[in-house]
């Protein structure tokens, strides 16, 4: 089924191979519903105008039941919902079964950011995929429930801690990062939105990312380059990328913002300074140095800065390598 409503106010643009059939089914239900709704409201308004109470008007006898009529208006809707059910489930099965040759991307959701891991080890906090090629997303959650939702692709699947879920897509159009300085930029679609659709705590609504769709050649170049952040960059530059990509920036201000907008303490200008922390119920004073930062990343609940609550993700060596911590330390030192 193809959609007539596709480019109307009802939908975001169609950018995947399944979007057309989803919108087509939506149309079918929409027009069917519209017919029923208009019929119901028409009958209601007609009866009111015809039979409203007024001088000289009296009710007239009519049958209080009519089996043929009642069975008819039970059976016809039953058949119609049967049709809706059929298209709904065939379309759904197509969306669940990924082809075997699909390019596989690991999606790790945690409060409140997305991490995409590509087969060559590259990681990114925005999603990059090749166009016209089946891409399978293997979804994981590091803490609570999240839901991986890309409206333009019409796909959604929950990320459940302790198990894998998956979904897949074939993107049909490429996107271009908009370049405000280049007036001759190629026509391309803007990057698409990726939302967390399952409520996951304080910054649920900030758990958004962008989706970039590349030509296959461009994608290969991108994914190669993305695989190695530490190489070819100074440790502080690599640390800055990691700081954003691993979600640190969601809870730690680098502009000295102490407000409740950020769950954790600000990190700029802090290097070498002292702070009061709570460690196993007792208050201590610690200096922000390499080992304190390392401990705060590996065991974030060991020492909690006064006035803050525990709740930071525990970064095991699988989530953040030692070299990467070193790069983050270099970045923190550079922050004034």
């Amino acid at each position: 089924m193809q959609s007539i409503l596709a480019d109307t106010m009802f939908f975001p643009p169609e950018r995947s191979s399944v979007a057309g059939s989803v919108d087509g089914l939506f149309d079918f239900i929409y027009y069917l519903s519209a017919i029923f709704f208009v019929g119901i409201v028409f009958a209601m308004v007609y009866f009111v105008l015809r039979y409203y109470q007024r001088p000289g008007h009296k009710e007239e006898p009519s049958p209080s039941h009519h089996e043929v009529l009642e069975i008819t208006w039970s059976v016809i809707p039953s058949l119609l919902v049967g049709v809706i059910f059929f298209y709904g489930f065939t379309g759904y099965l197509n969306m669940r079964e990924a082809p075997e040759n699909a390019y596989e991307i690991n999606v790790r959701a945690s409060k409140w950011n997305w991490l995409f891991v590509y087969p060559n080890g590259a990681e990114s906090d925005e999603l990059h995929i090749p166009v016209d090629r089946p891409v399978k997303f293997l979804l994981q959650s590091g803490d609570v429930l999240h839901s991986f939702y890309i409206p333009a692709f019409r796909i959604k699947m929950d990320c459940v801690p302790g198990r894998y879920t998956s979904t897949w897509v074939i993107a049909t159009d490429t996107t271009e990062a908009p370049d405000p300085n280049d007036e001759n930029a190629k026509d391309g679609h803007l990057p698409m939105n990726l939302f967390c659709a399952e409520y996951c705590g304080e910054k649920h609504s900030a758990m958004r990312a962008k989706v970039f769709v590349h030509e296959p050649g461009e994608f290969d170049v991108w994914v190669e380059k993305a695989a190695n952040i530490l190489e070819g960059r100074s440790p502080a530059e690599a640390g800055e990328i990691l700081f954003k990509r691993k979600g640190c920036a969601q809870c730690h201000s680098i502009e000295g913002d102490m407000s409740a907008k950020y769950a954790g303490p600000p990190l700029n200008g802090q290097w070498g300074t002292e702070r009061k922390v709570t460690a196993r119920g007792t208050t201590e004073t610690v200096t922000m140095d390499e080992n304190y930062v390392r401990e705060s990343i590996r065991q974030p609940n060991a020492k909690i800065v006064e006035g803050r609550k525990p709740g930071m993700t525990v970064f095991t060596p699988q989530l953040l390598k030692d070299d990467e911590i070193t790069a983050i330390i270099a970045y923190l030192k550079s922050l004034k």
């Binding site: 399944v18 009866f47 009111v48 109470q53 009519s62 209080s64 919902v81 809706i84 796909i155 407000s259």
Partner: protein
């Protein structure tokens, strides 16, 4: 008809004797707090329920105003993401557990059901009082949660977030647990009352349809609510003791929680809508002056909804990671439950055919219900179909669908029913013109609030977002504007009723010409309800009732022939 001043000497069926009137026969706080009278318990529930409704409504208005701007209208220090999450959680929890589940059965059902069977009270008056006391205690626990740390889990308490959040989940779940017992007590009482206390001559198929609806609701209340109780106890044990049932870090399964939760909470939406459908059947028939069309189909469809409603909980979990096979089965079953609701709508419409439609305020609400419930029901088709639900799940489309059914359905029917039974409950007539006016305000405000939410939902706006992409702003602004109109309309609708308590003219026994038994006693009813056991006739036969302008209501027509029974 309100222009005619009834002759005060004439017996219009108004209760003028303060020592007999249930409202004034005894006084003092204790005479209310420990009354066994179903009518007083109904009135106390009504006050409590409306207090909760306006509290929940206040939360809704605050969060809607916050959403005027993509990053929130209020300064961070006042409403930040955290406060927003608390607002939508408390809105949902208060509206669901304190307002809508007890709304029709506990307030109107308590008042009307014993009168409809011509009895003095429900089967277990003490249990009925206990149900109200439990409601108050449950409400106190909600207030404790509200005033300590708040609550930020969403009304669904999904694990594992509800296990690790710092807010007072325990107080809120104890509250919901206690409210569950309140609901069970009411349900049990109604089942026994309907089974054992019907008067001679009132066979099952001569019961008013409101009784069928309340009966079907009561079945769900006593079968489904215990599951909620068990689930909430497990959640508390998980938080306090770490038993590892739902917590994945201890080998538990958070999706199991969703199965448990929706096994109650899906049938619970039928606890919310079925009594409203019962009210609709009464209103459509009385105000059309016609017997209800297809009585048997409506009665059976209530039972069908109650039973099928237990089999569709999985449609809340199409993207939760449940198997595709389970999703397909739940989708199929979901469509089966749509048919009985459709049948009811067609039957209500057919009832108006060749009628004499009195456009009094309750009828205006009933017509409004048909319009809104049709939209609510039809948009359910998009969500029952798997392929479209994947896209629409957890977006504003679902929020709009849910509110069209629950608010456009249940709340509108509840207010319509309240206007219908108000003269009986308090013995006063309200101002018809203002009643209709605020019905229109509510109707306009409601559509303006929730229709834009369908569009932003299908455009991909996720629910429970404190901040959002600016592309959705126009829809949010329309919705907020609607919410303000809706809020004013609701306040107005209640103000018209409250005003009538002090200034309304005396109500006759049967102002609308209804044929059910509650209209045969005086308005308001005496403490003992009926002096003599009323004669049971067909609940929808209006041929023997005639409007008497001197009474300002309907009286038995001495010349009427006994009508032939249509069913």
């Amino acid at each position: 008809m309100s222009t005619i001043t009834p002759d005060t000497k004439l017996d219009i069926g108004h209760n003028d004797d303060p020592s007999s009137n249930y409202l004034t026969c005894s006084s003092g706080f204790l005479s209310w707090a420990f009354t066994l009278d179903h009518k007083r318990i109904g009135v106390m529930y009504l006050v409590g329920i409306f207090t909760s409704f306006f509290l929940g409504g206040l939360f809704a208005l605050l969060l809607r105003i916050h959403l005027l701007m993509p990053n929130g209208l209020f300064p961070e220090t006042w409403v930040n993401m955290n406060t927003y999450n608390q607002l939508f959680t408390l809105h949902g929890a208060v509206m669901t557990f304190l307002f809508i589940i007890p709304s029709v059965p506990a307030a109107l059902g308590n008042f009307v059901l014993p009168l409809m069977v011509g009895a003095k009270d429900v089967a277990f008056p003490r249990m009925n009082l206990a149900s109200f006391h439990l409601w108050v205690i449950g409400a106190i626990f909600f207030l404790i949660a509200l005033f300590t740390t708040g609550l930020d889990t969403g009304w669904t308490f999904y694990t594992p977030y509800s296990i690790e959040t710092q807010t007072n989940v325990i107080a809120a779940t104890i509250g919901a647990f206690i409210l569950g017992f309140s609901s069970i007590f009411t349900g049990l009482n109604f089942i026994v009352t309907v089974n054992t206390m019907r008067p001679p001559g009132m066979s099952w198929f001569k019961m008013p349809l409101f009784m069928w609806a309340i009966y079907a609701t009561a079945i769900i209340q006593i079968l489904a609510t215990p599951v909620l109780g068990i689930t909430l106890l497990l959640l508390m044990a998980e938080r306090l003791l770490g038993i590892g049932v739902f917590d994945p870090s201890m080998g538990g399964d958070p999706v199991l929680y969703q199965h448990f939760f929706w096994f109650y909470s899906h049938p619970a939406v039928y606890i919310m809508i079925l009594p409203a459908m019962g009210i609709m059947s009464e209103l459509m028939s009385v105000y059309s002056r016609k017997p209800i069309f297809g009585y048997t189909f409506i009665a059976y469809s209530s039972i069908a909804i109650a039973l099928l409603g237990f089999l569709v909980w999985g449609h809340h979990m199409f993207v939760s990671g449940q198997s595709p096979m389970a999703a397909v089965i739940f989708s199929g079953l979901t469509f089966s439950v749509s048919i009985p609701s459709a049948i009811k709508v067609f039957n209500w419409l057919a009832t108006m055919y060749k009628g004499n439609i009195n456009l009094a305020t309750p009828m205006c609400y009933a017509l409004s219900f048909i319009f809104l419930f049709a939209i609510g029901g039809l948009t359910g088709l998009f969500l029952g179909a798997l392929a479209t639900d994947i896209h629409l799940h957890d977006t504003y489309f679902v929020v709009a669908h849910f509110h069209y059914v629950m608010m456009g359905g249940t709340v509108i029917a509840f207010v319509g029913g309240l206007y219908h039974w108000w003269p009986k409950m308090f013995g006063v007539m309200y101002n018809e013109a203002w009643g209709r006016f605020f019905c229109l305000v509510v109707f306009i405000g409601f559509n303006l609030t929730f229709f834009p939410q369908f569009i932003m939902g299908s455009r991909g706006m996720p629910r429970r977002y404190a901040t959002y992409d600016p592309e959705y702003q126009i829809f949010h602004q329309l919705s907020t504007l609607g919410a303000i109109v809706l809020g004013l309309g609701m306040v107005g609708a209640v103000a018209v009723l409250v005003w009538s308590l002090f200034n309304g003219r005396k109500a006759p026994a049967n102002p609308w010409g209804a044929a059910t038994l509650e209209w045969t006693c005086t308005s308001p009813p005496p403490f003992y309800n009926f002096e003599h056991a009323p004669h049971v006739g067909s609940p929808y036969d209006y041929s023997q009732l005639k409007y008497d302008p001197q009474v300002g209501g309907y009286v038995k027509d001495p010349n009427a022939k006994p009508a032939s029974d249509h069913h």
